[in-house]
Symmetry: C2
Subunit: 96 residues, 2 copies
């Protein structure tokens, strides 16, 4: 599903984890993702991403994560998001 | 997996189907996708997309399709591709 990152903060006492608040249509949820080394919080607010949303919740460092962000790497090995080709996609839109 | 569209042609006698030749690293394969109403062939050559590549082959109008292209819709209901956030990603790169 297409999700929009509406808030992000690094998880304390970890190097890699970022706590994301993502919007899926009218609902928001919390997802913890291992992207803290690759991105600054301020650069990813508003980004449209792909979220696997139908997973069991997982507790990561005391935070309940509800989904998984799809990621890949660029030619330099840096993390990149997978997302819609056009930004005029509403969060909550299904991928098929 | 990240795939690059290297060739595209509409499937004759159908309205929706497009036959795509996609590159995955050093290999290419054929995928049939229902995108012919939304895209012109010439506009999508070179595009980096997300391909589900580990599916059973499927015969569509006599063409063996080896994978599925991830798609979503924009706010106007038009089809859009799902792809890497940065174009400097090599085809064949894994998504996780």
């Amino acid at each position: 599903m297409i999700a929009e990152i509406v808030n992000a903060k690094k998880v304390k006492k970890t190097k890699k984890l970022m706590e994301l608040e993502v919007k899926l249509g009218k609902k928001t949820r919390t997802v913890v993702s291992g992207i803290a080394k690759g991105f600054d919080e301020k650069d990813i607010i508003g980004k449209k991403i792909v979220l696997l949303e139908n997973l069991f919740p997982k507790n990561l460092k005391g935070i309940e994560s509800n989904g998984m962000v799809l990621l890949s790497k660029n030619e330099n090995g840096n993390l990149i998001f997978i997302g819609p080709d056009s930004n005029d996609t509403e969060s909550g839109t299904v991928i098929h």
